[in-house]
């Protein structure tokens, strides 16, 4: 399995090559090609590794090298290759490959073309360091690294103020989460004396319940920031300022899912504390529902999909909180495929109509861009959870499982599913179907995108169609990583602890096989209910936006307070602005006046003067006269010898 080191380092090499020679030698097509080839190599390597682990079983822990000894513990750069990391790595590399290919078309003619691909390669490297890590420090390195890459890419058009601000906002919001994560990692190190996942897992029974809870919650704080869950979600919609391939790759398919992956990766820690699982569950449910409501009334095509991302990540966290870790990870994989597809289709639309983001100004695009429209429709159906598309097989188990465990969680997840179907088809009808609102000047130039863009769309769309039927395969594949009975790296005691924690999910019985699941859904009341819900959402969207039987503006007027609440995104941004930006500003001003002006300035000026004076005072000794030197040295010898001979 030694070849696995290729996976992270191939994009790193691409980053270095493009970073050094991008502008001078490689220029436009070549730097994109280098990036695509590099990421394709790691995709091939990870698929080979995936197949190997699927056939042979077990897990591999490769220590590449020791970075730094820290007392008895050595921080190493290593690869933990088990079904969970294999799945995540494959999702990252394979989706990246298609998005990279798409980006070579999307970024055509962009003056900063090499810079874009350098950043993208850096992102993939960091993301892979994160997924492949076997310890919290390397995870944190990747965690910060993807944050950095995300910052650079959101602010890619840095001459635009809104982009620079959005980059800044995402960086700061993520800092809050990262700070919590780091605190959790340090607490884990203090408690367990190690950072390696496997050692931490096996030391879990020795630690007290409350310490484990604190560690889990702090680490989850990081996930809340990275995965844009309620509380720290405000950066994600604004992050859509970045180029669309970035939105597809980083802010939909991979980076934002890092929080979900981290919780699954550290499943034993979370399973050892039911409080932590409950927090994960309800933060997830709240995000799933609230983000779906925010998505109802937005007009920016990319932001609608962004809220949808946040909502779907909420479903994944809810699944993990319910103890259905396998279902959560499967939803992550299928969501990565169809959400990347939706974003890339949106990107293709934007290229076609010259970057008009407002859906109210689109319409009838299906006539001009048939491939884009068809693939978008497939993505939308998958997101809405219509069988036989991937979203149905990955989202419905979560909703149905919730019914068995917590009725409250089920209700909001179910309501969220209705809203999801509605907002994504609102977007579809507004953009691709009825209503000729397109600017005539734009209309003349609208055309289907080049093959470098449509081919990835078609591939991802086929993925969204067939992936769901592999439900059983994925379920069985992930068992050695997420089902304590099969987890060979856990000690017996830890196994018992984890099984106790996951007992909440024990009475959930769902068909593992995709066909049986489909059959079951179409016959059981609960399955029929969720199917009808999804169809209802689509139907309502069809009535309002396609048939125009009901005027959307009328509805907005009737429910004005609700509309305003949703339109203003539940006033999160306003409250945050009032507290953190304005409040912080006022608070700093007061502090500045009292503390800075009076106390600190006094000390700083004073100490600066003292140190400078000391400097010039000490400099006097360096008089340049040799006699003086020798005399001082003799004095030094006397004092030094005196200390020894008198005091020792």
């Amino acid at each position: 399995m030694e070849y696995l080191w290729i996976i992270p380092f191939s994009p790193l090499i691409a980053f270095i090559i493009i970073g050094l020679f991008g502008y001078k030698f490689l220029k436009e097509p070549l730097s994109g090609i280098v990036a695509v080839v590099a990421v394709a190599i790691s995709a091939v390597a990870s698929v080979i590794g995936f197949i190997q682990i699927a056939t042979e079983g077990g897990y591999y822990n490769l220590k590449l090298y020791t970075w730094m000894p820290l007392g008895d513990y050595e921080i190493s750069v290593s690869i933990l290759w088990d079904p969970l990391s294999a799945l995540m790595t494959c999702v990252v590399t394979v989706i990246s490959t298609f998005i990279f290919i798409f980006a070579t078309g999307y970024m055509k003619g962009e003056p900063s073309y090499p810079r874009f691909f350098a950043y993208l390669s850096l992102f993939v490297f960091m993301m892979l360091m994160l997924t492949l890590s076997d310890n919290l420090i390397q995870l944190f390195f990747g965690w910060e690294g993807v944050g950095l890459a995300s910052y650079l890419l959101i602010g890619f058009y840095h001459h635009k103020n809104s982009a620079a601000d959005a980059a800044f906002e995402s960086f700061i919001t993520n800092r809050v989460g990262d700070w919590l994560f780091l605190t959790g990692a340090i607490l884990a190190f203090v408690t367990f004396g190690t950072m390696d996942y496997l050692d931490i897992f096996n030391k879990l029974p020795e630690a007290s319940y409350w310490v484990i809870t604190a560690i889990a919650l702090l680490l989850f704080g990081g996930a809340v920031g990275k995965s844009a869950q309620i509380g720290l979600h405000i950066w994600l919609p604004n992050a859509m300022e970045g180029p669309t391939p970035v939105s597809a790759l980083i802010h939909a398919a991979t980076m934002v899912a890092a929080g979900v992956y981290m919780v699954a990766r550290l499943m034993p820690i979370f399973a050892a504390s039911d409080i932590a699982l409950d927090v994960v569950l309800f933060v997830g449910v709240a995000s799933a529902f609230i983000a779906a409501t925010m998505g109802l009334v937005q007009n920016d095509i990319k932001r609608i999909i962004a809220y949808s991302t946040m909502s779907q990540l909420g479903y994944m966290f809810a699944a993990e909180g319910l103890g259905l870790f396998g279902e959560g990870m499967f939803h992550l994989a299928s969501h990565a495929v169809f959400k990347a597809l939706l974003f890339l289709a949106a990107g293709s639309v934007l290229i076609g109509i010259h970057h008009i983001l407002n859906v109210q100004k689109m319409g009838q695009l299906r006539k001009y861009m048939p491939i884009t429209a068809a693939t978008f429709l497939i993505g939308a159906l998958a997101l809405a959870g219509i069988p036989p598309f991937a979203g149905f097989f990955s989202k419905d188990p979560i909703i149905e499982g919730a019914y068995e465990i917590s009725k409250l969680a089920w209700f909001f997840l179910w309501a969220g599913a209705l809203l999801t179907a509605f907002y994504i088809f609102r977007l579809y009808f507004l953009a691709f179907e009825n209503g000729d609102r397109l600017d005539p000047h734009v209309k003349e130039h609208v055309h289907e995108s080049p093959p470098s863009m449509t081919v990835p769309l078609v591939v991802l769309a086929s993925g969204a169609v067939v992936l769901g039927f592999f439900k059983e395969f994925f379920g069985n594949f992930l068992k050695p990583s997420l089902n304590p009975e099969y987890m060979s790296f856990l000690s017996e005691e830890t196994k018992r602890l984890v099984e106790d924690g996951l007992s909440r999910a024990h009475h959930v019985h769902m068909a593992e096989d995709a066909w049986h699941f489909l059959l079951h859904s179409l016959t059981s009341p609960l399955g029929i209910l969720s199917l009808i819900t999804a169809l209802l959402g689509i139907f309502v969207a069809w009535v309002i936006y396609q048939l125009k039987k009901v005027d959307a503006k009328e509805i907005a007027k009737t429910f004005r307070p609700l509309y305003l609440l949703l339109y203003n995104r539940w006033y999160f941004d306003f409250v945050y602005y009032a507290i953190f930006v304005y409040g912080y500003y006022r608070f700093s001003k007061i502090l500045w006046f009292i503390g800075d002006k009076i106390i600190i300035d006094g000390i700083v000026d004073g100490s600066a003067k003292v140190s400078l004076l000391t400097g010039s005072g000490l400099r006097l000794f360096q008089s340049g006269r040799i006699g003086g030197y020798v005399a001082q040295m003799a004095l030094g010898i006397l004092i030094f010898l005196g200390i020894f001979l008198l005091f020792m």
């Binding site: 000894p69 140190s611 400099r619 010898l641 020792m648």
Partner: protein, 489 residues
Amino acid sequence: MSVLQEIVAGLGVPNFKVLIPEIIILITAFIVFVIELLTKARLLITVVTAIGLFLAAIPTLNMEYGDLTFYGLYIVDSFSLTFKFFLILSTFFVVIVLRPYLEAKNTYYGEYYYLILFSLLGMMMMVSAPNLITFYMGIELASISIYILAGMFKKDYLSKEGAFKYLILGGTGTAVISYGIALIYGRTGSFDFVTIANTITSDNLDVGAVAGIAILIIGLALKASSVPFHFWTPDAYQGAPTPITAFMAVAAKISVFAVILRIMVEAFPFAYEVWNTGWALLAAASMIFGNFVALRQDNVKRMLAYSSIAHSGYILAALAAPSGAAFTALIFYSLVYIFMGLGGFIFLSAMERQYNWSNNINDFRGLAKRSPILALFMLIFMFSMLGIPPTVGFFGKLGVFIALINSDIWWLAVVLVVMSIVSAGYYLRVVIYMYMHEPQSKAKVNLSVGEAFTLAFMAVFVLILGIYPTVFWDISQILSSLLVAGIGR
């Protein structure tokens, strides 16, 4: 029978095989000496010197068996071979940047080359000393060659002044060292480290032993330019031709650190409470004094001289803790200091050519806009000296810091951290001048091939070692455990 034959018959032939590096250096020195007399072909002299250094480096890497040879006067072990390799390496870089510097200054002397080689030979003897006499011979050969090298600019007043001060104060140091050696010989009746180690133990520390150790420490501290015996350093460093300054600040320093470690660990292992305190005091004084004075320097060369005093403090601080981890930290820091130290001084030697040899901080204004790569190199060196990850300087300081904390010497660890923060004041000043000020001229900085290669090599290594310090760390760990295992052989 001649005298020689009698000696051979009585004592046996010394094992010359392990001395091949030294022999090659010596022969090269003589060849260069002769070439310099016969021809004025400057390139030829440089090339011959470089080839000699290269040939000498090979056996230091692939020698399989060490030996205690010359009738117990000379030891060749992994410790000395490693340091010899790095000494030869740093000398090599000094040699390849020397010619453009001297030619630009119009004061070319062929003597530089063989004097450097003799000095290197002295340093190699130092690190191979199992015996106070060998050590003394080595340090004298190295120092006297450097006195001459520092004063080679005959027409330059500063150079002459610095060399003269160095000669007087260095001579004092030599006197102090010989006095210390005499006291120890009087106390133990031997120059040999092993015999000394077995004679002086913690039970029988008397005035003779303590005074001997203390005086020897003073002498060594002077050679390592540790406060309060550092007075020669700023003047000599500033006055000497800059590549020679690099040689003094790096090669000479490293060999002194190595020999200090060997003497303390092998000769006085059972009297460690005496030298612990001594080095702790000297290290603290060097860190505090070096950093505070460096804050006020406008001359970058002088600033780096004070910074090298501060670095002596950081490195010697490891000796405050008598543990394997501390010795590892000392070896590691000494080895990696080669890269940042050489980088910093050779950067200056390349820069000052363009600026009328002034070395003023104002010359650095806006360098990033004129020569971005060059400015980036200097940024890396400054960050490394300051100890910011991912440069290797961070790991050097971290190693010393952890060693101090593991031995519960908190006060010195705190001094180290606080003084590192103070040092940001002057290292970052250079960076600010390079990156945040507007350039005064648009002219590009011209580098010779040797200079460009050296700077790039050093900068890349500082970064690589900062990301992947494991190899050097392992080497240091092995050397330190060998050194500890060799106690009282």
